[in-house]
Symmetry: none
């Protein structure tokens, strides 16, 4: 079974947009047992779209298409689809009613252009798009020179619209039409250790893995995801094999694992706080609100998060967080002493169970020989006291902010677990 | 003239790695006047590589290939290249001497595998790779069914190795072989208006554009970038045309434009604050620190940003921001009255030139009939007083946070400009 992805969009061909859609789609398809054999990026050009559809129809069973839709491009791609599938555009009532509702709920009126978005090729199945005005379209066509039909799915290129369509419409329908490969995946989430150090610790285990199991390292700034993939006809046996090997892996790196599967560190920390009825506050300097942003990105976080002071200047650290001015002058803002006071004071002032304080040099400027760019102090205060930890990250501002925030959240998680077990 | 990119690598087809190489290469080629017509991602598989080369040779003049090289994969791709170009591997002395030096300077010895990296197809021109052990390879071949030769360049997939090869070897050689197109791009950045409403306002202008100019809409949550692309033999005339049309476009949507080119809204606001010597503070509820994060993502932001209070709970709004409790009870946290008090109080307490306050219902829960999910109040306080604005965004938490933050930053920008001009 062959699967391919076609991304339509001039913006991808002049490098204005990185094709993250392709990576996400390829991962989801692969996880669902439909490995992708080719990704093609082509321009918003009718002839090139037609050629790509012709080629794909001869080679693949499943063809996922993104882009070329949306109010300003609509006619072009839909016109090609009509020619390729030998049909014509018809007005789709349900889609139009949805578009009307979509706009009226935002206090807006439907324009003529929006009305045209409700036109779809006659022989497609419309896949409702709850997040936008261009619906997904599912086509089936007898493959040229092949004895099976091919499925073509056309979706908008806006990432969150495409993602909802793939998850809720496309994958369930594909599973009903095709027999996916029997592949199991399990992901272990680690924080605070780099890929090469992990690989040193896991080398022996990895070389002894059964032939049908495979480990992949998926690094992101501050996080490495370890994905074990297994393939086999007997699902019961495969599942047992995966569980055994996952258990072995976990014993090798217990200090770095914070979760499994699709969890995020901020969601794991949120669940722990919620479950135990604890609250948290933050006093941030170098991360400038990014820890608070991660915490509040989780729906319902008002149950465990009260608020923060972002103390970017020393003036705010002393006047609003009550950091002792002499201490600040003596040790500098990026120091164990200051970060501990920040943590203790925000916890008292905002009355929370735990608090995080952070101060560091995110860069690119502000580094000294003694405290180079990437130096970060993190303190966690809680019912059993306050502890501070020093880190030296790299020289990239964006990565330093992200790594610092994740490290702080993981320290909070470990502190709570340690307090609970003592 | 047709240009295409072929990226070889299993890791790109399981979504393990986002294809940033393709975006970078496409941008460089486009800026140099060799617009890319197709990007293909294929697996480390000899048959698929051969098919891709065959197809590319029939369609394109320039074919840039990355990946499939490196010590563990080398044989596979080079073997396919030998078959495709009807040649055999030969030992390349200069490359071997470079590899020896590369390893000895790192205190390492050359292994048999590294020695094999010095073997290259006989009929290629070797492009020296100063950053790694696999050299670039330049091939020329008469196009099948075409009356021109095609150029194929094979490069390693490691980004910084590929980038140096493209910049120092590939582009200069291409410019000597082919006549690049004269293409200019200009991007206008808008906030606070959706793609379909922009397109309504620009329709007349767009239909009257000269044939060699083209407009593209590049939407992101909260932001739409408008890219004008022009093509023409006379660069002076083309530049003049682009400037005239850009000026016309700007008069049609002056209220929504915040910048041009590769700027971000947070950088534009930062530059304005810095230039005028103003400072800003924020009091955030529903955005939970995301505005502060955007502001502090800009290097040097401590010059214009002092700090914030994130008041996620009502308790923090009253106790720390001094919001009147009766007012809060009477109007609710998401109201004009409360958001104005938050803005005025944080500005006074943290002593800044301007302040942003925001309170809303990010979702998915917490909405009511009167104040549905997506309702957001934003206030800007400054030397000339305080003003509040109400918005109704959508039902997606992540997008509501992002759109609210961008709207708030743009309101701040407009308020400062209006204060300066009055």
């Amino acid at each position: 079974m062959q699967t391919e992805i076609i991304n339509i969009g001039d913006e991808l061909l002049i490098g204005q947009v990185v094709n993250t859609n392709a990576a996400w789609m390829a991962e989801q398809m692969s996880l669902a047992g439909f490995p992708v054999h080719r990704i093609s990026v082509i321009p918003d050009d009718p002839q090139q779209i037609m050629e790509a559809l012709n080629l794909a129809g001869r080679q693949s069973d499943i063809i996922l298409i993104t882009g070329g839709l949306g109010p300003t491009k609509d006619d072009l791609t839909k016109d090609v689809l009509c020619r390729f599938f030998n049909t014509k555009l018809v007005f789709h009532e349900d889609t139009f009613r949805f578009i009307e509702q979509f706009f009226s709920s935002r206090g807006l009126k439907v324009t003529e252009i929006n009305r045209k978005q409700a036109e779809v090729p006659k022989n497609c199945t419309v896949l409702p798009n709850p997040n936008g005005t261009a619906p997904g379209m599912w086509f089936e066509k007898a493959g040229e020179g092949r004895n099976r039909k091919s499925v073509f799915v056309s979706m908008p290129g806006v990432p969150f619209e495409m993602k909802a369509l793939v998850t809720h419409e496309v994958l369930p329908r594909l599973k009903a039409c095709f027999l996916p490969l029997n592949v199991l995946h399990h992901t272990i989430l680690t924080q605070g250790i780099g890929e090469s150090f992990l690989s040193d610790k896991l080398e022996d285990w990895e070389t002894r893995l059964p032939e049908n199991l495979h480990l992949a390292y998926l690094p992101q700034p501050g996080i490495v995801r370890l994905r074990i993939t297994g393939q086999g006809d007997d699902e019961f046996l495969l599942r047992k094999q995966m569980e055994e090997e996952t258990a072995k892996l976990k014993t090798l790196i217990p200090d770095y694992i914070f979760g499994e599967g699709d969890e995020t560190l901020e969601a794991v920390v949120g669940s722990l706080l919620k479950e135990k009825g604890f609250t948290v506050t933050t006093a941030e300097s170098c991360t400038g609100g990014y820890i608070a942003h991660l915490i509040t990105s989780i729906p319902g976080s008002s149950a465990w998060y009260k608020g923060s002071v972002i103390a970017y200047s020393n003036e705010i650290k002393t006047k609003q967080l009550g950091v002792n001015e002499t201490l600040l002058m003596a040790h500098g803002a990026v120091s164990e002493e200051v970060v501990k006071e920040m943590a203790v004071n925000i916890r008292g002032k905002f009355d929370s169970s735990y608090s995080i304080a952070i101060s560091g040099i995110a860069g690119p400027d502000g580094g000294t020989e003694e405290k180079p760019v990437g130096t970060v102090w993190i303190a966690i205060a809680g019912p059993t006291g306050v502890r501070a930890h020093k880190y030296l990250f790299g020289d990239n501002r964006e990565r330093n902010i992200r790594r610092s925030a994740l490290q702080a959240l993981n320290l909070l998680r470990k502190t709570i677990l340690s307090d609970l077990s003592s």
